[in-house]
Structure formats: structure tokens, C-alpha cells
Amino acid sequence: MTTVRSGTERVGSVLRHVALGLGALLFLLPFYLLIRNALSTNADITSPQWTFFPDDIQWDNIGELFADPAVPMLRSLLNSVVISVLETSGAVLIGALAGYGLARIPYRHANVVLGMIVGTLMIPAAVTFVPTFVMVSTLGWVSSLQGIIVPGLFQALVVFLFRQYFLNFPRELEEAGRVDGLGYPGVFFRIVVPNSKAFVAAVATITFIGSWNAFLWPLVIAQDSSSWTVQIALSTFLTAQTVNLHELFMAAVFSILPMMLVFLGLQRFIVQGVESTGTTGQ
């Protein structure tokens, strides 16, 4: 557009930025409250006079959290890392393979398979929760990390996302590979995957976030504290008869800190992923 910027437009632009700034403050406020409370004494948190900054920043709260024998914070953080990493890698690999198969390998009943996958997306998991638990425990995986990980490897949504993406993958690239004598696995691993890094990263990021934040399934499966994830450790604070407020908030800080880092580092892939699923092939 080549219109000369008029006065009203400049005012509009200023207003827009003021609105954005206010919105950003609102969106950041909950994070600030979390950190403020985590670094306060309980007395400061519950003081009748609300203060924006705690009078006395309690860095010791960090040490207190990790020293509390009732809540194995380090162990749960470690469990969460192991679970999220393994589950994410597995789910992305299995999902990408299936998504590619559905998008690119002609098969007479592919529609049936696809319909089944999409259909399961609509059933709320909470309602099939008990039979699933019974199945898993029949396999003897209660209180084990694999009991948390393995069921999370089969995510219909991941398959669906990959299928949509691969439908739009440039065929020319694959055909070039085929001319060079590659079969389906060769084309997939040597051509399709290396050319889809951003999308894979995007799916991996959201899978990772989901895995890290998963609550109910780990709560039920991880009965022994040695298999607790960080969300479960957090819930012990929340549900204890006696709540230690600052410790609760400090635990919450440590439960979202890794997510924030991963997220800030990888969010551009999500943005790209969203854009690429919509734009390619236009």
C-alpha cells in the first residue's frame, strides 16, 4: 500500500501499541505472581496489605523445596525429563511413519483406517479411563515409567497432523528419490524427513509440552513416589491437608521452567508449522 500515512493512522498505530502493551502486561501478570509468591514468606503471601514486591526475597525457598524429604522434587524432575523425551521421540516417529503411510502409500482400505483414527479423536479420554487402566495394569506396568510412556506413544492427533502435512509435501522431491532407486523407507528417511525438520520440530514441541504437563494418567499409574512426575509432586502440595504456600508456588515455578525454556527456544517451529500446513501447495 502506498497511501501516505495520515494523522489518524499514526494515532491508530500508537493506540494499537498501547493496547498490545497492556495486553502483554496482563498476560505476563500470572507468571509474575507465580514467581513473587515462590520467593515470598508465607506471611508475605497472606499479608492483609497486598504488595507488588515481597519485602524480603526468600532465595532460601529454592533450597527448602529441594531439601523437603516429603516431596522428591529432583527425582520427579528427572522422571519428567526421561518420560517427556522418550515419549516425544517415540510418538513423533510412530506418528510420522503412520502419517506418511496414510498420505502417500495407496491402499484400498486407507480410508477406513483414517476414519478410525479421526473418530477416536472425538471420544473424550476421561470416559474410557477405567478400562484403559485395567488393561495397563494387567500388563503389570503400574508404577513404572513405561506404564506412563507407552500408552502415550500412539497419538491420533500426531498422525493426523503428519498426514495433512505430507499430503502437501512436494511430490517432485520424492519422485527424484524414486528415480534414484529408493523404496518407501528410503524416500521417507532420506528425502521426506530431512526436508521436514521444521514441521517435525513443531510437532515434537507440542507433544513435549503435552507430555510434560500430563496430569491424570501419571497420577493414576505412578503410585509409588519413585515414578512420580513433576506434576504429581506438585499435586502432593496442592492436596496435602496442610498447604505450604511458598513451597507450592516454588514447585510450580520449577515445573514450568523447563517448559518455558523449551517453548521459547522452539516456538518459531510451531509458528512455521502452523503456517506451512496451510500455505504449501497453494
Binding site: 492483609p48 477416536t120 477405567v130 484403559t132 523449551v262
Partner: protein, 316 residues
């Protein structure tokens, strides 16, 4: 003699059938074990009197369905969903579209604003509920919202405890808005980027005033596909709402058995908490679940029809 054609039929041209199953098989097997079988199991349970057991023997036909459909608490939970959806769907839609338009046209710090609005997406419902319940909308004097009210000379409000007026909706809805607005904003941003600039240039030539007119006649129609998808997802997600309700409103009842108030009790919470929870009544719980799944499917199809999702002849 017969082996060759059979083999050919099974494996397909260039072994395609074989390769299809090599790629898709691992997923399908997992899906069967961990998703399909439990779903079928639930459907099976819905036809039985099944208390404290998942291997029932007393077949009751459609009785459980009849009971659920005449259960006022279950029906009112569906009503709760309608109220929740009536708040959350339009608010998220307008809010995320508004944010997207603001960010899209920002001249400074565009990436910063996008990140800030997107960041809560990485936060868990558990943590968000904690902040909302204990810090912002705490009913006592040191809650942030009440401190603001006091500064304005108003009385404190017990946000989550009172039903008249139903302030709890404010807590529930703002929490979800904070968690999800950023994501839908990203969807709209992607949509906005796909709009060809040439359309705006043409509009300028035709004398459309920048602002509302351009939005009304160019931007919004061009976002139609995004809008349809966003609405569809918002509705399905609203139906499956559980976390924030559970974490905000569940309370410690007598003797350890938790309770959940009858208001703001969406269908999943009712099914999980009441039917599948301490009552261990899997027959009624499963029947309710099947009804819920059917209602979701119905809504999805209806909405798709209304919004023209999948209409082949409709060209953008």
C-alpha cells in the same frame, strides 16, 4: 498356482499393501490396544449393571441410558456446557482474532508480543488453576482481585464460593482465555499472512476505507476457513472441559472423600467425578460417556453443516 495371485493381492502392486502396513501398522496396533479396546469395553459396560467391577454379568439393556437421560444432574451438566460454550467460544474467537490483528499490524516488537501471548500455551492447567485460585481470585483479603476492589473502595468477593452472582464463571473463563487465546491467535496470524496483498490494493483503489470496511469486506471473508476450523475446535474443546473446573472447584468433603458443587459441573466432570468416581458405577458412567460422545459428534456435524465446512461447491 493360486499362490501367486493371492500373494499379489495381499502385498499389492510394488508391495504397496505391505509397505502401507509397515508404516501404519505400529500405530494402528497401539491404537487398538490402548484406545479402541477401552472404547469398546466402555460401550459394552454401558449395557450392564456394573458397580465396582469392569467384568459385569447382569445385562440391563438400555436401562442405563434411560436413567442417564432422565437424571436431572446429568442434564444440568449438559446445560452447564452450553453456558460455558456460550462464554468461551465467542470470547476466544473475538479475543484471538483481535490479538492477531493487533500483532499482525504491529510495527515494533512484533515477535515479542507474539511470544508473550503465546507463552501461556506451555503452562499446565494445574499451575494456572493454582495461580487463579490462590493468588488472583482468592476469596480473602490478600487476593489480587480483592485488593484491587478494596483499592476502589468496594467489598471483597468470594469469587469461587458464591453462586449469586455467579462470579465463578469469571474465574473459569479468564483462566481458559489466558491459556488458549495465544494459540488461536497463531492460527489467525497464519491466516492473515495468507491473504494476498493484492486484495487490499484493489480495495484501496475501489475506495474502501482502511479499518472496519476493509476488515468487513476483505480480511474477515478471507479468514473464513481459519474461522471455521477455530470454531470447530473451540466447541469440541469446550465439550471436553475438565481440568480447570476440577482444579478450581473440587473441594475437600467430609472424611477425605472430595466433593464437587452442583453448579458449574460440566458433563465430563459429572461423569468422572460422580458416576465413575466414588460411586464406581461403570454402567451408568459408560452410558453417559456414550451419550456425550454422540452429542459431541452431533454438534460437530451440525456446526460443520451450518458453517459450510466441506461444501465442495463453495469457493472462496
Amino acid at each position: 498356482m493360486a499362490r501367486a495371485p493371492l500373494r499379489h493381492r495381499l502385498l499389492g502392486e510394488q508391495n504397496r499393501n505391505l509397505w502401507f502396513w509397515v508404516f501404519v501398522g505400529p500405530f494402528v496396533i497401539g491404537l487398538m490396544i490402548f484406545v479402541l479396546v477401552p472404547i469398546l469395553w466402555s460401550i459394552y459396560l454401558s449395557f450392564f449393571e456394573a458397580r465396582n467391577t469392569v467384568t459385569p454379568s447382569l445385562f440391563v439393556g438400555l436401562d442405563n441410558y434411560g436413567d442417564m437421560l432422565s437424571d436431572p444432574a446429568f442434564l444440568s451438566s449438559l446445560g452447564t456446557f452450553v453456558v460455558f460454550a456460550a462464554f468461551i467460544v465467542p470470547l476466544t474467537f473475538v479475543g484471538s482474532l483481535g490479538l492477531a490483528l493487533l500483532v499482525h499490524r504491529a510495527r515494533f516488537a512484533k515477535a515479542f508480543f507474539r511470544s508473550v501471548f503465546f507463552l501461556p500455551v506451555a503452562c499446565s492447567y494445574v499451575v494456572a488453576a493454582m495461580i487463579w485460585k490462590l493468588s488472583i481470585f482468592s476469596g480473602v483479603r490478600f487476593g489480587l482481585a480483592n485488593s484491587v476492589l478494596r483499592a476502589l473502595g468496594l467489598d471483597s468477593v468470594a469469587w469461587l464460593s458464591v453462586t449469586q452472582p455467579p462470579w465463578y464463571w469469571l474465574v473459569i473463563v479468564t483462566l481458559r482465555l489466558w491459556l488458549q487465546l495465544g494459540f488461536y491467535m497463531i492460527l489467525f496470524l497464519a491466516g492473515l499472512q495468507r491473504i494476498p496483498t493484492v486484495l487490499y490494493e484493489a480495495a484501496a483503489v475501489d475506495g474502501a476505507k482502511p479499518g472496519w470496511q476493509v476488515f468487513r469486506y476483505i480480511t474477515f471473508p478471507q479468514l473464513r476457513t481459519t474461522s471455521v476450523a477455530v470454531l470447530l475446535l473451540l466447541l469440541i474443546n469446550a465439550f471436553q472441559a475438565f481440568d480447570e473446573f476440577y482444579n478450581l472447584l473440587a473441594n475437600a468433603g467430609a472424611s477425605g472423600g472430595g466433593g464437587y458443587p452442583p453448579y458449574a459441573r460440566p458433563p465430563l466432570v459429572y461423569l468422572y467425578y460422580t458416576a465413575l468416581g466414588n460411586q464406581q458405577d461403570f454402567g451408568h458412567g459408560s452410558a453417559g460417556a456414550v451419550i456425550l460422545a454422540l452429542v459431541i459428534a452431533l454438534f460437530t456435524v451440525l456446526q460443520g453443516r451450518l458453517l459450510g465446512f466441506g461444501r465442495k461447491e463453495d469457493r472462496a
